[in-house]
């Protein structure tokens, strides 16, 4: 993957994170200049520089980002140092003294649009941003979409930009219960409209336009935005939207059940409203000729999540067995290939933990969990001990013991924990 594609992916993923001030550490990266930090951020960025004695404003600034006055700005925060070119460039922009720490609101140029030597209040920083003439991220995207209403990528970016602050506000107004078995609280109608109204409108447009289907990318704004916020169960408006969209999403999922992105969208809607179970969605669909597995691997996450919600692992157990069998077959194939690659004088090879083999990988951990949840303790022990025999690592034994404890299999937990010592 090229560095530029990686930058783009990191940039897009960063949009999907909760809208607290994000600290992007440029420490140690001697290539980054201030202009690079501003790429893709018309709303500007926050930067801070410690004093020569190491006193930093970073902690105070980080705490600001989650305050109400700044939630909609979603400014990235960069903690620079004087050992970096970007840090020295910043110091030189206004001739700052290195004796005190500094913060600055940076805009295109780069230009310093607001600054200080003490952390501002959230309200003061919001006011400074308004006075700077910089747009908000949401504002830029809304204005763009007025001129380009069919621009799917921009709409997806807008959905993501609206989601973060709404999720944080929902956490405050309707925090999830400590006991996951308790029902999720609901926002009042007024709060729901205020917090989720804009997001719901844009999400609905994205989904009803079909844009969410017309992409082959695994990452990027479209597939990320197509997944409904996981705060949806607490929003009556989003629950109603999920209920409205679910039948069509299921219909499109049935047309392409090998597509993990369609399953992700379906799962996100199903988390908000009751609906079909995965095997019901796939009922009547025969496997494609030549398929390795059925149901398809892409559905596995959905089946596992369903198993956890329903506390019923019977349907998913054979899928997990097959996934694990294929994983072991792959290891064997890689060992055979390694022997063919090795010099003629070498007859034994040891893959060790290469490619994640011997680790507490998804297939192994899920299969053992399924066996434990179904009280098939002997089978769980046999599978784990075979994996441990291949690569006898303490970490593997520790993680397996923790799982066994969670599943109430104390005897197995003790046995596996002993292997870790």
């Amino acid at each position: 993957m090229s560095f530029r594609r990686l930058l783009l992916m990191v940039g897009i993923l960063a949009l999907a994170l909760p809208a607290q001030a994000q600290t992007l550490f440029a420490t140690g990266d001697a290539r980054i200049r201030l202009a690079h930090l501003l790429q893709g951020h018309p709303e500007g960025v926050l930067v801070c520089l410690p004093s020569a004695t190491g006193r930093s404003l970073h902690g105070g600034l980080l705490a600001l980002g989650s305050q109400e006055a700044l939630l909609d700005l979603q400014l990235d925060l960069h903690d620079l140092t004087l050992t970096q070119p970007a840090g020295r460039e910043l110091l030189g922009l206004k001739g700052w003294s290195p004796e005190t720490p500094h913060w600055a609101l940076l805009g295109p140029g780069p230009r310093i649009l607001a600054e200080g030597i003490d952390p501002p209040t959230a309200e003061a920083l919001a006011q400074a941003h308004r006075a700077s003439g910089l747009p908000t991220r949401v504002g830029v995207l809304e204005a763009f979409l007025r001129d380009h209403p069919d621009h799917d990528e921009a709409r997806a970016q807008l959905v993501l930009a609206l989601r973060g602050p709404a999720e944080l506000r929902t956490e405050r107004q309707a925090p999830p219960p400590k006991d996951p078995g308790q029902p999720q609280p609901r926002l009042s109608s007024e709060a729901d409209d205020r917090i989720w109204g804009a997001y719901a409108d844009q999400y609905e447009r994205l989904m009803t336009s079909g844009a969410w289907r017309r992409t082959a990318e695994a990452t990027g704004p479209l597939p990320l935005a197509a997944a409904l916020s996981d705060a949806a169960p607490r929003s009556p408006r989003l629950r109603a939207l999920a209920e409205q969209l679910l039948p069509e999403v299921e219909s499109h999922l049935r047309r392409r059940p090998e597509d993990p992105r369609r399953w992700k969208v379906w799962l996100s809607l199903r988390a908000a409203v009751p609906g079909s179970r995965p095997h019901e969605v796939l009922a009547g669909i025969p496997p494609l000729p030549g398929s390795r597995t059925w149901p398809p691997q892409a559905a596995l996450d959905a089946y596992v999540e369903d198993a956890r919600l329903q506390n019923d692992w019977r349907t998913v157990e054979p899928m997990l067995e097959e996934a694990y069998r294929q994983s072991l077959a792959f290891i064997q194939a890689m060992e055979d290939a390694a022997r063919r690659d090795a010099p003629a004088s070498i007859t034994q090879v040891d893959l060790g933990a290469a490619f994640g083999f011997g680790g507490w990988t998804g297939e192994l951990a899920l299969l053992v969990e399924a066996k434990l949840r179904l009280s098939r303790f002997e089978e769980a022990d046999r599978i784990f001990m075979a994996a441990y025999g291949r690569v006898p690592r303490s970490k593997l034994a520790e993680q397996a013991a923790m799982l066994a404890r969670e599943c109430g299999a104390e005897a197995l937990a003790a046995k596996w924990a002993a292997l870790a010592r």
């Binding site: 790429q39 380009h148 040891d350 290469a354």
Partner: protein, 417 residues
């Protein structure tokens, strides 16, 4: 005998040549499952059976079957182990081995196509395209089946076209599989280009034979309006043989406007552009400047991603005038300015090769193509100062020579970072 440290080798397999079997196995992990595979036990030092079966599997009667094939030299311990594992004498022979390890068929000589086709069917092989067509008749709404059928017919078309044209065009994956990283990176950068200057155009009957079914399936996907919901991996991993097919050129000419109409909605799409570039490379169309004028990237996207790589490759492939090259230079200049430029690492002279291939080389090339030698010189000096890359003067000199500027080439060749 001590086991070799495969951990280190496996983690380092990319830079090392010769670690091709592990790489191929890793890359083939998601291939459709086959009910059996061919084990070829070869006489010491021979590859006669492998050659014979590769030819056999191209026969019309066998084109619908994808049979995995592995050759083992009986002069090696591994080869003798294979013979023992299948309970056969260690002599040259072929074995059709089922998924459970049982030998379904065997022989000493390469069989004829019809009898081998029967053996394959008895072993559980099916003509996957026919099976998918039957599936689609029952479930015409299935995008998975339609996509798999197009991919299957594409693979067959490529095999047949190569045979008819008498040429071999590698996929990026094959280049990686034989350890040629430079060729792999080049193919990855622009999978749609291939040097087909030596290839002729397929005759009508040949064209129909090679590409008829694929063209029909792809055409239907466009007519039904479902093409954009599919993944066409061959636009990034296939063999770009399409330029030799009048059928495919006609198909792409018909549907290129449809793909171009989709781009304004997703101008940074990493799947639309490769499809566009694949179709554009085969047809040689150059409406790119008009198309680019209609496209607007998202204002919150990093500027160095615009224009997308496939568009840049197309611009370079179709540039004719100095003005064309100036547009390209502007795009690469924006990328160069937006990129945090790494400094060369003294003991890793090839570390900046990707930078040269993707950005710096095209930057200089476009300045030279625009005949702006002063700009080319300034770009070169700036790059040298920033990267301190010892290989840069030689590479830049070779480029200048290739672009018809020998005196510039001579000057750059003498520069030391």
């Amino acid at each position: 005998m001590r086991p070799i440290p495969i951990l280190l080798l496996s983690l380092a397999w990319l830079p090392l040549r010769g670690q091709t079997e592990m790489l191929r196995t890793h890359l083939d992990r998601q291939a459709p499952v086959a009910p059996a595979h061919l084990v070829l036990l070869e006489a010491p030092g021979s590859k006669a059976l492998q050659g014979g079966f590769r030819t056999l599997l191209q026969a019309q009667a066998l084109r619908g079957f994808q049979v995995p094939l592995e050759g083992f030299d009986l002069g090696t311990a591994l080869g003798r182990e294979q013979a023992a594992a299948h309970r056969c004498a260690p002599k040259a022979q072929w074995l059709l081995v089922g998924a459970g390890g049982q030998v379904k068929a065997k022989g000493i000589d390469v069989p004829d196509a019809e009898s081998f086709a029967r053996a394959l069917q008895d072993a559980g092989f099916q003509d996957r395209a026919r099976a998918l067509e039957a599936y689609l008749k029952q479930a015409p709404e299935s995008l998975s089946a339609r996509e798999a059928l197009i991919a299957e017919l594409r693979a067959r078309g490529e095999r047949t076209a190569q045979r008819l044209l008498g040429i071999t065009v590698e996929t990026p994956r094959e280049r990686l599989g034989r350890g040629d990283l430079a060729a792999w990176r080049k193919a990855l950068g622009d999978p749609a280009t291939a040097d087909l200057t030596a290839a002729r155009t397929l005759e009508p009957a040949e064209d129909l034979d090679a590409w008829g079914p694929f063209a029909q399936a792809l055409d239907e996907a466009f007519r039904l309006g479902v093409w954009q919901e599919m993944t066409f991996t061959w636009t990034q991993e296939g063999r770009p043989l399409d330029g030799a097919s009048p059928t495919l050129r006609g198909l792409y000419t018909r549907w290129l406007p449809t793909v171009e109409a989709a781009l304004p909605r997703q101008p940074e799409s990493e799947s639309l552009w490769p499809l566009w570039r694949w179709m554009q490379a085969a047809t040689g169309g150059s409406r790119l400047r008009l198309l680019m004028a209609r496209l607007v990237p998202c204002p919150t996207s990093p500027p160095d991603q615009w224009p997308p790589e496939p568009a840049l490759h197309a611009l370079r492939a179709t540039a004719r005038t100095p003005d064309d090259w100036r547009v390209i230079h502007e795009a690469y200049r924006a990328r160069w300015d937006a990129l945090p430029v790494p400094e060369a690492i003294p003991d890793q002279p090839t570390a900046l090769e990707p930078l040269w291939e993707q950005t710096l080389g095209p930057l200089l090339e476009s300045a030279l193509g625009a005949r702006d030698l002063g700009i080319a010189e300034a770009d070169f000096q700036e790059a040298l100062l920033k990267t301190r890359w010892a290989s840069l003067p030689a590479k830049a000199a070779a480029l200048a020579q290739a672009c018809g500027h020998p005196s510039l080439a001579a000057r750059w060749g003498l520069v030391r970072p």
